[in-house]
């Protein structure tokens, strides 16, 4: 076993995802701690140009095949498996994003090796990689290790800062020929969401609502506050699923990633899927009636209370200041 640390360089629609750099930063630490090389694995079709910015890694392994033109779980897992059987990495870091969903477990199944999910950090102890995993919606943290052999680590976005993984160095690229089966699942098209009236990514202030808002009627409270602050309303997944807000207002894993100056999360528990979309906001205020809600881990200011009471009080206070 060569003991290399691999990072899957995720890219989609022509761009490398920021999480790729986060994983490179993390992978760098792990590789250095183990005294082994760090290699970025880039899969695609005609995508070798993307390798240039992956210099944080010692080298890039590029696998090209028409079946890899779009990131899809089974062809990617098959390609990685073929490469892994040849190269025998110690660990493969795969981001837990919608784009790469399913690749990790499929790869682990194919290799018959260990797979770890929900990791928010990786540390090395006694020559072994330990994953700090967030389970049960972020309510429990588990320190997890594998019994031995290659381990596939599924890592949440946000484990490191993306900037830590960027580098000016241009890494050497090793291109590998792959022979893959014809994928049975076929991508027909991407469907972009209807343009909404509001572009969340451009907002400086966002008032986000979650399950704690209890009903669509209470959205008004968030809207009043957003209006008072000069911002917009967005929501976590449950609110969009209920149809209280349109898809374009969803923040999180399947929604938008935002970096506003001020993010007020009202009635949002703070499960990783949502946090992923907002943790880079400058100032995060969390309002939740459950003092142990994971959102307080990522917030700068926390209020334990009923969003339905705090939101109007806040709107009033802000308006009072203005007037």
């Amino acid at each position: 076993m060569s003991g290399t640390i691999w990072v899957l360089a995720e890219h989609w629609r022509g761009q490398l995802s920021p999480v790729t750099y986060e994983l490179l930063a993390l992978g760098r630490e792990v590789a250095d701690a183990l005294g082994v090389p760090l290699e970025a694995v880039l899969l695609g079709h005609g995508a070798s140009g993307l390798a240039a910015t992956l210099g944080c890694a010692d080298s890039v392994l590029y696998g090209d095949h028409p079946a890899l033109a779009e990131p899809m779980a089974q062809p990617y897992a098959e390609a990685l498996a073929a490469l892994a059987l040849e190269n025998r990495p110690a660990a493969v870091l795969i981001p837990l994003t919608n784009v790469s969903m399913g690749v990790g477990p499929l790869l682990a199944a194919r290799l018959g090796c260990a797979g770890v999910n929900f990791a928010k950090d990786l540390t090395v102890r006694d020559g072994r990689i330990e994953a700090q995993c967030l389970l049960y919606g972020g309510k429990i943290q588990a320190c997890v290790a594998s019994a031995g052999g290659t381990v596939i680590e599924g890592v949440w976005p946000g484990a490191r800062q993306a900037d830590q993984g960027r580098s000016d160095r241009v890494p050497p690229v090793r291109e590998v020929q792959l022979s893959l089966a014809e994928p049975r699942v076929r991508l027909k098209q991407y469907v972009d969401p209807e343009a909404g009236d509001v572009n969340l990514a451009e907002q400086e202030v966002l008032v986000a609502v979650g399950r704690g808002i209890q009903s669509q009627d209470n959205l008004e409270l968030a809207e009043n506050l957003a209006a008072a602050l000069g911002g917009a309303v967005c929501g976590s997944r449950p609110v969009i699923d209920q149809g209280w807000l349109p898809l374009v207002r969803q923040v999180g894993k399947s929604g938008v990633t935002v970096k506003p100056k001020l993010y007020i999360a009202a009635g949002i528990s703070g499960a990783p899927e949502h946090v992923e979309g907002m943790r880079d906001a400058d100032v995060i205020v969390a309002i939740n009636s459950d003092p142990s809600a994971p959102i307080f881990e990522v917030a700068d200011y926390g209020i334990v209370g009923d969003a339905l009471d705090v939101l109007p009080a806040l709107a009033e206070a802000v308006e009072a200041r203005k007037g």
């Binding site: 009903s215 669509q216 009627d217 009923d306």
Partner: protein, 647 residues
């Protein structure tokens, strides 16, 4: 006067009478038999029990017309119309029997002096009352009373019945005036002034006699085809009333088609006189929700008249889903209904059908799932039921392990809602102060199921009830006390168990009166009290909270709608869990807090956690914050009974 039965016109009069009577009674009988046939296809329901009580109900409400006096003028008028009608009906049968059997050695009714006088008096009073009724219906038309063709026809027919009798008396007096016919004599005078004389009397009398009989026979035949079926049905409706007020029948499937309702539920449609009192009392209807209890009764009537029709059923068709969900089960309609119709059970049966079909709005669904899974509608762990205990400063006895005298059930809102928890803490302090031996069930207490039941989820009610009964079985206590009227109603009336159940106000009244809970500092406050539906209308607990408030030293003002006419906060029937209906201008709770503020009181006292929550919210949206405080009677008691300084 000539004997109408003997007077010939082609054939003797009695032959005509027989013929007409036969036709009329056949038509009447056929229609009534058809109704009975339809009702027999419906589900059975036992309403023959407790005969003495039923007879008393009949006496008070049919003979005494009690509920009609809720609207005074028409109450008086209807009373007179009713009795005059009863009297005339008796006289009619007298005359009919005599007419059909001329050999009977019996005079006609009006040939008996006192009877003639009574007939005249009843006639005049009846006509006067009819005039009042007509004035009300056509000039001062109340909301939800229709000027229908049916109503007009009836008024005309009854007037004709009375007028023809009086005119007959007039003709009779023209020939043979008697001291028993003062009105007749006056009318005779009128006829005379118009040129009639004793020679016309006989023909006139006969004409009026036949007019009268034909009108009545015609009315009889027409009756079961019109809304005046209520004349017949209402008597039975009252007799077969629900004696266990506010209690719902068991059953999980619900009803939509004719055969799925009970005969008594269908009977409500027939007994309905379309008077509109239910609509005039309904907080949902008056706030603009898509529900009219009167229209509902009408749909049931049509269902029965149509014999079940195309078998489609009411739910989702003649009665829309929104209508079925709009009811807050406050029972104001049933309280007012003079014929004891059962609007709420009908709606709940239809809700059961919607629930069986899974046609439940998302928020209500969540509440029901939470109730089933966690035993509370908040979706919180059962262990959080005692989150309020630390604020009390001591741990109440665990009634699961220790015997207590008072088993204290808090209900969901008093335990989980931060707005109501202070009331619960206050209650704990008061119980301690009064030296009561009390305990709670901690996590074992489940929602009583009362509102799940009224939301149509009967299966869930049964599960919650059974879990609670199991806990009660194991615990040892003498009486139950609760501040939650929904819990109170379920435990007292719907769990099938005996044993005392007290509301906070009842217990407080006892404790204060007996001196066990002395009032240490009288409340300098002006208070108005809201009678929550499940405590007031459903269980008649009106006085204890008032006695308590006065004993605490506060000045009590009454709102215009109080006691049995109290206006619901709008949370019942599962509404506190449902999605808001759009387009409602003023929600019931907002209307109520304005009514409270208008009395001049500074405190709106309540006896129900849901009232507290609804009115606190409403006072904010109505802009009354700071002007009207909402307090539970228990909180007032706690304030007034503190020992100097400490607890």
């Amino acid at each position: 006067m000539p004997d109408p039965a003997a007077t010939r016109w082609i054939v003797p009069g009695f032959v005509w009478l027989w013929a007409l009577a036969l036709i009329s009674f056949s038509l009447f009988g056929a229609r009534v038999a058809r109704y009975i046939g339809v009702l027999r296809r419906a589900r059975p329901e036992q309403r023959w029990d407790r005969l003495p009580r039923r007879l008393w109900l009949f006496a008070v409400n049919v003979l005494g017309q009690k509920r009609l006096f809720g609207e005074t003028w028409i109450g008086a008028a209807h009373f007179l119309i009713f009795w005059s009608f009863v009297f005339y009906a008796s006289s009619f049968f007298w005359n009919l029997l005599r007419g059909m059997a001329p050999i009977l050695p019996v005079p006609y009714a009006d040939e008996v002096g006192p009877m003639a006088f009574a007939l005249e008096a009843a006639g005049v009073l009846g006509l006067a009352a009819l005039a009042v009724a007509a004035l009300r219906r056509y000039i001062f038309t109340p909301e939800r009373l229709e000027r229908s063709r049916d109503a007009t026809l009836i008024l005309v027919l009854i007037s004709l019945v009375l007028l023809s009798s009086l005119a007959g008396s007039g003709f009779s007096a023209l020939a043979h005036p008697r001291v028993w016919q003062p009105v007749g004599k006056a009318i005779a005078g009128l006829f005379a002034s118009l040129g009639a004389d004793a020679g016309h009397a006989g023909a006139g009398y006969l004409a009026m006699w036949w007019l009268h009989m034909v009108t009545v026979l015609g009315f009889l035949a027409y009756l079961p085809y019109s809304k005046h079926m209520h004349l017949l049905a209402s008597t039975f409706g009252v007799f077969f009333a629900q004696l266990d007020e506010g209690v719902l029948p068991a059953g999980t499937e619900g009803a939509s088609k004719l055969e799925e309702f009970t005969w008594r539920e269908l009977f409500s449609g027939l007994a309905c006189a379309e008077c509109g009192r239910c609509d005039r009392a309904c907080p949902a209807f008056l706030s603009g929700y898509p529900l009219s209890p009167k229209d509902l009764m009408h749909e049931v009537k049509l269902l029965v008249r149509g014999g079940g029709g195309d078998g489609a059923g009411l739910v989702g068709a003649a009665v829309k889903n929104e209508t079925i969900w709009a009811c807050v089960t406050c029972a104001a309609c049933m309280e007012r209904c003079p014929v004891f119709n059962e609007h709420v059970p009908l709606l709940v049966e239809m809700r059961r059908r919607l629930v069986a079909n899974g046609e439940v709005d998302a928020q209500l669904q969540t509440a029901l799932m939470n109730l089933g899974r966690y035993g509370n509608s908040f979706g919180q762990s059962p262990r959080n039921r005692t989150k309020w205990v630390p604020a009390l400063g001591f741990k109440p006895k665990d009634a699961r392990n220790e015997a207590v005298e008072y088993l204290w059930l808090t209900g969901d809102y008093a335990a989980y809602d931060p707005r109501v928890q202070p009331v619960t803490v206050a209650a704990g302090k008061v119980f301690e102060r009064a030296g009561l031996n009390f305990g709670i069930l901690y996590e074992a207490e489940q929602n009583s199921g009362n509102d799940a039941r009224r939301a149509g989820e009967e299966g869930l009610f049964e599960v919650l009830r059974d879990k609670n009964l199991a806990s009660l079985e194991k615990a040892r206590f003498e009486r139950i006390v609760t501040g939650d009227p929904h819990t109170y109603h379920a435990l007292k009336n719907e769990y099938g168990r005996d044993g005392a159940v007290l509301h906070y106000s009842e217990l407080l009244a006892q404790l204060i009166a007996s001196g066990r809970l002395p009032v240490s500092q009288k409340l300098e406050a002006v208070v108005t009290y809201h009678d929550g539906c499940y405590l007031g209308r459903y269980n008649g607990v009106y006085d204890p909270p008032r006695r308590v408030i006065e004993a605490l030293g506060a000045r009590l003002l009454e709102m215009p709608r109080n006691r049995a006419t109290a206006w619901c906060c709008g949370a019942g029937g599962g509404h506190i869990w449902m999605e808001d209906v759009p387009g409602i201008e003023e929600r019931p709770a907002e209307r109520r807090v304005r009514e409270a503020a208008a009395t001049g009181a500074a405190i709106l006292a309540v006896g129900c956690p849901k009232d507290m929550v609804m009115f606190e919210d409403a006072s904010k949206t109505a802009g009354l914050e700071g002007r009207l405080a909402v307090r539970d009677v228990m909180q007032l008691a706690e304030e007034a009974t503190r020992s100097n300084g400490a607890n």
